[in-house]
Symmetry: C2
Subunit: 236 residues, 2 copies
């Protein structure tokens, strides 16, 4: 956080106007050889330019060109394990960072690593999503875009989060179970099938697909780049 | 979040320089009656002033006057129930808001109302503080000051939070138990003494007082205004 005090701005304005007007006066003197004219033009210039500068600012206030207002948003990436949530949200994060957005990425695996005791029962998943949703809403409230990538299998928890955010976008990474299971990047589906892991979403725990997500992306036939473009279109 | 595009800034600079220089040229013409001199001065002015403006900016860059850099901070108000945590942190919040700080207030009672199922066992309190601490650290990371008012009875949880924040300040509201119990604003001490409430900090659950808090305030003999001043001194 950086601020310039009012008095600094005033002093800076005065010092610039002084410098600029002395330059004008000197130029006039060089060309005319008359210091009376130089002083008169300088004096009038000070008054006129302060007034003009103000009008110029007000006029530009009505020019829409190049003005961008961003309403921050909470982009909630949901979907099965292996669907591509982390990959896409991480790519969107890098893209937004490069473009100068204030953005925070909350990824399921990362957050669970910080709080290793968070369980996978329906109640614990629900509370986990609600808590992360609260975090997201506080960041959004303070002007920060939030990318959250969590399986978020239950409608109820997602609706709770939608309710506490101003601008909530549900992005459903809708890659089908068969494709996710075939990819199985962390070997989790194999463990779930063999019974080594319990309450695994898509296998022995339900995934309640969203009815009206703001965006749905099936990564079976969508490249990461295309996905990033779709997400950016959603918030611009 | 509001942004002006680069091209808008460039266009605006050009339009101002054009307007300002035409004004100079017209002034010179009025005083000298010679359009050759007016044009010459105008032409030279454009070049000189762009260069001068740049030098002026660079020179002010070395002037410290009126420059304020705030490093955001996480101010963690700890202490017994009834010690004055919420009162003081709320007063600091209002003060900082008025001064234009980006600041978020996380109050124990408010957060627990959003997550009513959070329990009071040692483990649940510990996890609760860690989660709120994570939220605080993400806000701080994005340039937001955080005021957190939680009993936070355990050293270990507080040290965890300190570890994940960049600029953590422990503010111990050190009002003694006798005074807090006499105040008993929510009637909780009476319930704890009668056994109606279990695990109540100070009665049948320990409060691990901090060894080296950044600030300690005993509200027995400190007004809210004095407390706010002490806190503001800590972060300025």
């Amino acid at each position: 956080m950086f601020k310039e005090s009012n008095s600094r701005s005033i002093l800076k304005t005065i010092s610039w106007r002084t410098l600029a007007t002395i330059t004008t006066a000197i130029l006039v003197f060089i060309f005319t050889g008359k210091w009376q004219i130089a002083l008169a033009i300088g004096g009038i210039e000070v008054v006129i330019k302060i007034f003009l500068y103000y009008l110029h600012e007000r006029a530009w206030n009505h020019v829409e060109y190049g003005k961008k207002t961003y309403q921050p948003a909470v982009l909630w990436f949901i979907g099965l394990s292996g669907a591509g949530k982390s990959t896409i949200s991480e790519a969107v994060y890098k893209h937004m960072k490069k473009k100068g957005y204030k953005v925070e990425h909350l990824d399921g695996d990362v957050v669970r690593n910080i709080f290793p005791k968070t369980g996978f029962s329906r109640e614990e998943r629900d509370r986990h999503i609600r808590r992360v949703g609260f975090l997201a809403s506080r960041l959004e409230h303070n002007g920060v875009f939030v990318l959250a990538s969590f399986i978020s299998p239950y409608k109820e928890s997602r609706d709770f989060v939608r309710g506490i955010c101003n601008n909530f976008k549900e992005i459903y990474i809708s890659t089908p179970l068969e494709v996710c299971e075939q990819r199985d990047p962390k070997g989790l589906y194999a463990k779930a099938r063999s019974g080594e892991i319990k309450n695994f979403t898509g296998i022995d725990d339900p995934f309640e697909a969203p009815d009206n997500p703001e965006l749905a992306i099936d990564t079976t036939n969508t490249s990461v780049e295309e996905a990033v473009n779709k997400v950016m279109k959603l918030i611009s």
